[in-house]
């Protein structure tokens, strides 16, 4: 009962309770959202500037309850062993990935700018006798030995040995890059030869240079091919195919000789002459 009801005598407890309930229920009802029919007069679709309604409080309570449940579930999962393993793995992977992206660490297999595992950069001024500078870039598995990946070999020190020219020739041939081993101290050592064929000893070709061994092998094959050609010339015609094959081999051997000669051009002519004379002997 308010001052509005001064004209009304005592309602009694029953009626006051009834009107109190109705007023509590309907006096401050939450209005619906403004419909689009009111758009010409006022902005629609906005929240009403009223105290937090019961409906919104209800949804806020639901949201908070659900959020608490989710957080408690996540906490319980992390409390288990599996959860710890998953969390630790996730953190570790994220750390490694972040370090890889930032360039702090270099992990093989995660990709990067260096797509080729081994890249050989040959200088433009590849002289016949002297290689000015050979840079061998090797992507090493050891990330910490990045400084060892780049090796620069020059022939400035002529007193090392006479095989430097041969080494440089080998480095010029890109197909033989895999034969190069890079040690941690930066020295480039050629691989030992696969076949241990008896080698004619010469003054200049005595080292463990694999290319020289290969050259000698080719030369020996060349000789054997010539012998087979001689034999096949006396055979019947049915073996002509073999002859052709042997001829092909001979040609290929000559090709290899050309290649070798190409590398041999870099050697002194006197050395070649001596070697050939020894072979003929």
């Amino acid at each position: 009962m308010t001052e509005m009801h001064d004209d009304v005598p005592d309602l009694g407890l029953e009626l006051e309770s009834t009107f109190g309930g109705l007023q509590h229920r309907y006096a401050n009802a939450t209005p619906p959202p403004a419909a689009s029919v009111l758009a010409p007069f006022m902005p629609v679709g906005l929240t009403i500037d009223r105290p937090s309604s019961t409906a919104s409080a209800h949804w806020q309570t639901r949201f908070r309850t659900r959020r608490k449940k989710i957080m408690s579930t996540i906490g319980a999962f992390i409390g288990t062993t599996v959860g710890k393993v998953v969390l630790g793995t996730t953190v570790a992977v994220a750390s490694v990935g972040g370090g890889q992206v930032a360039g702090v660490i270099d992990v093989v297999g995660l990709g990067g700018d260096d797509a080729d595992p081994i890249a050989v950069v040959e200088p433009e001024s590849s002289g016949d006798d002297v290689c000015d500078e050979v840079v061998v870039e090797v992507e090493s598995e050891d990330a910490t030995s990045a400084a060892d990946d780049e090796v620069c070999t020059t022939d400035e020190d002529e007193a090392d040995d006479q095989g430097d020219d041969a080494d440089d020739d080998a480095d010029d041939d890109a197909d033989e890059v895999e034969a190069v081993e890079v040690e941690s101290d930066g020295d480039v050592k050629p691989k030992p030869p696969v076949t241990a064929a008896p080698q004619p000893k010469t003054e200049h070709v005595e080292s463990d240079d694999r290319d020289d061994h290969v050259d000698h092998d080719d030369d020996s094959d060349d000789e054997s091919d010539h012998e087979s050609d001689d034999v096949s010339d006396h055979d019947d015609d049915h073996e002509s195919d073999d002859d052709h094959e042997s001829d092909d081999d001979h040609e290929s051997d000559h090709d290899s000789d050309r290649v070798d000669d190409r590398s041999g051009d870099r050697q002194p002519a006197e050395q070649d002459a001596e070697v050939r004379s020894e072979r003929k002997d």
């Binding site: 308010t2 509005m4 009801h5 004209d7 009304v8 309602l11 009694g12 029953e14 009626l15 006051e16 309770s17 009834t18 009107f19 109190g20 309930g21 109705l22 007023q23 509590h24 229920r25 309907y26 006096a27 401050n28 009802a29 939450t30 209005p31 619906p32 403004a34 419909a35 029919v37 009111l38 007069f41 006022m42 902005p43 906005l46 009403i48 500037d49 009223r50 309604s53 019961t54 409906a55 209800h58 949804w59 309570t61 639901r62």
Partner: protein
Amino acid sequence: MVRDRRFKRRFEAAAAGDPSSCRWLWDHYAGPITGFLRARGTPDADEVVNDVFLAAFSGLARFDGDESDFRAWLYRIARNKRVDAIRRKGRRPVVFSPDDDLPGGDGSAESEAIAALEDAELRAVLDVLTPDQRDVIILRFVSDLSLEQTATAVDKPIGAVKSLQHRGLEQLRGRYSQQPYPAHLSATMS
């Protein structure tokens, strides 16, 4: 006085077409109008509220009065729109739907069901009244309007409103004298 000055400024701006002032009127009066329509069991009460304010905004230029008159004027529009809504529905029996804004409820289905039951019981108390008596009783004791405002809202003289009020209260007293006191009312009041 401050309220009257603020209302006058807002009302004049709204009549001039200020959208924010129209929104202010909606924010301050849409709630009580909605409650009246729901208490009267208006079908599609939310839609009717929008119709009420559409008619009010359209007729602001023709209105002349203070805040009390404006409030009574809104209830009058609401009463007329309610009648229109009932006619549109083909005078089908009104089915009261539980509202989703239950004061004091925790939002659970159980509390909503209890509140809907109490809501139906509260409205059932008014079933013994005639429609005019119901309008007057609700406007006077639920919407808290004065006799003059109620007379404006129901478009009747004050004497007629007093008569409807007196008869309505007698009907309710006679109902409670015949039936035991509903337990939910004491709980509601507490």
